[in-house]
């Protein structure tokens, strides 16, 4: 079965420092991977996706993610975090079988950026 794991419940970082949110996946075959962000009392917003090609994917709000097949990881990164980046981040994988909208989400990582 396809799944993603986010090993950290919370990540704390000071404003201006690099931010990394970890995600590992378990997928047979080539994975389709996504990152979404959720602000308080809001729905999820799409950040970026990896389908194929370049292992470094650039997305919205200065975020990027690095696909690493050997480590089965898809970590989200931002070179310089902002206080406004404080939110809940979800990694997701689209299973090979099933509808294209049937994303399998991780449990989420709360990011706290302090001034």
């Amino acid at each position: 079965a396809q799944s993603v794991a986010q090993p950290e419940d919370q990540v704390n970082v000071a404003e201006g420092n690099p931010l990394t949110v970890k995600c590992t996946y378990s997928v047979s075959g080539n994975p389709y991977l996504f990152w979404y962000v959720q602000y308080p009392n809001r729905g999820l917003q799409f950040l970026l996706k990896y389908i194929t090609g370049d292992n470094l994917v650039k997305g919205s709000y200065g975020f990027e993610a690095e696909f690493n097949k050997s480590q089965t990881s898809f970590h989200l990164k931002k070179p310089s975090a902002l206080v406004s980046d404080s939110a809940l981040y979800f990694c997701a994988v689209r299973p090979l079988r099933g509808s294209w909208g049937k994303l399998q989400f991780g449990a989420g990582t709360q990011v706290v950026v302090t001034p």
Binding site: R42, G43, L44, F46, K49, F90, G101, K102, L103, G108
Partner: protein, 114 residues
């Protein structure tokens, strides 16, 4: 463009009562989804529509949950009767009818069952 609209924002009911949620997707989005997000967990797909047809409802508890999208635009999700474990945020999302198109989520309806 206007986003995905959901109502109500909050709902509190007693167990065994019924409840309905409404969703209006982004104009032109043929695909509509209902996700359930339990506190501390990632969203879980309940049902996916393509226009007015059901594409995937494999994770919908059909003994108590139902959903419809009669005219291929807005949609209603119903729970009858509700259980305590149904307490969650119900998220509606829509997307273009293209594989791997990003999902656009509404702000959700927070349901509390007491």
């Amino acid at each position: 463009e206007a986003g995905v609209a959901q109502s109500p924002r909050y709902k509190i009911i007693e167990k065994r009562q019924s409840v309905a949620f409404w969703c209006n997707p982004i104009s032109g989005h043929a695909t509509l989804y209902w996700y359930q997000q339990i506190l501390g967990q990632g969203p879980k797909l309940l049902i996916q529509f393509q226009n007015n047809g059901v594409v995937d409802d494999s994770q919908l508890p059909k003994d108590r949950f139902s959903a419809e999208r009669l005219k291929g635009v807005d949609s209603t999700l119903k729970i009858q009767p509700a259980k305590l474990e149904d307490s969650a945020v119900y998220l509606c999302a829509s997307s273009l009818a293209q594989e791997l198109s990003p999902l656009h989520f509404g702000n959700g309806t927070r349901l509390t069952v007491t």
